[in-house]
């Protein structure tokens, strides 16, 4: 079985977010970058699915600064990696690059994290599936493969549903799909020599552009209510904040 896992390099969750003085770009100096948490779940699942045989290729759209994260993915258990040499402009750009690669390198299953923690976009998995003409199950919590078919459990409004889909398909990994894997010494050593191929991006029209960033107005400091006055909370919420 050939699995492709799409991975993104994102700022660490605890990173302070700062922008250039003109607010047009995120400042990456001094920020630790990590493998997008949902992508790590997707990768762990792919490694689980191929313990009996098969390969896991990871693909990342990024400049050379993403290579440490790609090596981490190899250490977790991916077989080989591809880096498309470009900053990930937007979801459409990323989906088009991956689709271009898949056209000449078909896979049985494509796994993505359901969302990336920097743009909070969930557009790549579904766009990629549409470009390839295959199904996408975006919020998959469970996935099992039987031959050329997949059974998935997906989150929906107020509940969940069980779906059946033929392969190939794109699945967005939600929490619960697989346990996090910690790379062991052997994994880390082999990651250095596993293949990491760099390819050039294709031209893609630009439909969206980030014009600027902004930060939310910080909340004013907390108003403490004494434990014995807890009962006054709702009147305060109504009178001061009008939220109930």
């Amino acid at each position: 079985m050939k699995i492709l896992v799409c991975i993104a390099n994102v700022p660490d969750t605890t990173a302070k977010i700062n922008f250039t003085p003109d607010n047009k770009e995120f400042v990456s100096t001094g920020v630790t970058f990590i493998l997008n948490p949902y992508d790590e779940i997707a990768l762990s699942k792919a490694v689980d699915l191929t313990t009996g045989g098969g390969t896991v290729t990871v693909i990342n759209i990024g400049d050379a600064s993403t290579e440490p994260t790609i090596r981490k993915a190899l250490a977790i258990g991916a077989t080989d990696a591809v880096r498309v040499n470009s900053k990930p402009r937007d979801g459409y750009f990323v989906a088009r690059q991956i689709a271009e690669y898949v056209k000449t390198n078909p896979f049985d299953l494509i796994l993505c994290g359901r969302e990336s923690s920097d743009s909070n976009g969930s557009s790549v998995p579904a766009m990629l599936a549409e470009l390839l003409g295959i199904p996408c199950v975006l919020f998959a919590k469970r996935l099992t493969i039987e031959g050329t078919n997949a059974t998935l459990e997906q989150e929906i409004e107020g509940g969940k549903e069980i779906l059946s889909s033929p392969l190939p398909l794109v699945a967005g990994a939600s929490e619960g799909m697989a346990e996090w894997k910690i790379p062991n010494m052997r994994g880390i050593m082999s990651a250095r020599t596993k293949p990491l191929v760099v390819i050039e991006p294709i031209e893609v029209p630009q439909h969206t552009t980030v014009k600027s960033y902004d930060k939310p107005i910080p909340r004013s400091s907390v108003k403490l209510i004494a434990a014995e006055d807890a009962g006054k909370l709702f009147d305060m919420l109504r009178d001061e904040k009008k939220v109930i």
């Binding site: 969750t13 929906i156 107020g158 969206t208 014009k211 960033y213």
Partner: protein, 326 residues
């Protein structure tokens, strides 16, 4: 030309977020001087469809058929794209619900349209078309220009107020072509808990964490939530331990919510949790540890033992509700 809004139903009924997205689309249509057309897919009564007319829709397209009875991403995306082409829609608006998130990107590709997802405010339309969306898991906003001729927008529930706009909508059947290649995914089973308030669109949320010590103590949390008409949520350790379902987990690897009021009980406030709730308009924190980081991100805080404070809140909530109704 027109603005097209996809009006999602759950078991034949519209939710508050449906009327929010209609109001949002109506404001765009008005600004661009274009008619607002709504598309409904599946079995929805004409009486229910007529409600769209009260929020600015002038025409409702009703797409029905055996393959459209249950929500299924590929055929639904195909129908929305067909309607967009039929109505020459320049802007297509959807709610960023679970299904909307899977459908909007497919529609964008089909129409060669730029997509702005998780939008939280009306676009600026004087000159370039610019939308505001959340970024960096609640720590920032991004202003994004969509420069393609056709634009697809998905809007976060509970970020735009419902606005009535008296009028009526003409309902017409929309004939669709569904291709077999779009029908390869089948639904085997659906499990919905319809009695609870849906968490992703909830205006009020009562959430609890490890401070509750065990799942057997959740009765008072549920009672507080029921009294207020709120949804229930929990922190990651609680869902990991199986005390509460995964669907209640809010946080960086759970869901992100933006309710008007978020009450957090016995939750310390780790950054990963805040990433899921920082867009809440008002945050109330109850924790017996005065150093709990959550107090720094809260509007109101009560330092105390949840087992003493929550019963008091339940009583106060009951009194508050009956004085509201009485």
């Amino acid at each position: 030309m027109s603005v097209l809004v996809y009006i999602e139903n759950v078991q034949g009924k519209f939710k508050k977020s449906t009327f929010e997205v209609i109001s949002f689309a109506a404001a765009i249509a008005q600004k661009q001087n274009l008619p607002l057309v709504a598309l409904s897919i599946g079995d929805v009564s004409d009486e229910e469809l007529g409600k769209a007319g009260k929020y600015g829709v002038t025409k409702v397209l009703k797409a029905v058929g055996d393959s459209l009875k249950e929500m299924n991403v590929q055929p639904y995306a195909s129908v929305i794209a067909q309607a967009a082409k039929a109505e020459n829609a320049k802007v297509i608006v959807l709610s960023a619900s679970f299904s909307g998130k899977g459908i909007a990107p497919r529609v964008a590709i089909k129409l060669d349209a730029g997509l702005a997802d998780n939008v939280i405010d009306l676009p600026v339309m004087d000159g370039p078309f610019i939308v505001k969306k959340g970024a960096f898991s609640g720590k920032a906003f991004a202003f994004v220009e969509i420069s393609s001729d056709v634009k697809v927008i998905s809007m976060i529930p509970n970020s735009y107020k419902v606005v009535e706009s008296p009028g009526s909508a003409a309902i017409t059947i929309f004939e669709t072509q569904i291709e077999a290649k779009d029908l390869t995914v089948t639904v085997k089973e659906t499990k919905r808990s319809t009695d609870k308030v849906s968490l992703p669109d909830a205006e009020l949320v009562v959430s609890a964490g490890r401070g509750m010590k065990g799942p057997e103590n959740w009765g008072m949390i549920e009672e507080l939530a029921n009294t207020l008409g709120a949804a229930t949520a929990c922190s990651k350790p609680v869902s990991d331990a199986g005390w509460r379902p995964h669907s209640e987990h809010v946080g960086q690897t759970g869901i992100a919510i933006s309710p008007n009021l978020y009450i957090a009980i016995g939750i310390s406030g780790a950054i990963q949790h805040l990433a899921g709730v920082s867009s809440s308009k008002v945050i109330v924190v109850v924790n017996k540890d005065p150093e709990a980081p959550f107090f720094k991100a809260a509007d109101y805080g009560i330092v105390g033992d949840a087992f003493e404070i929550v019963p008091r809140l339940v009583e106060a909530a009951k009194a508050f509700k009956s004085s509201q109704n009485g």
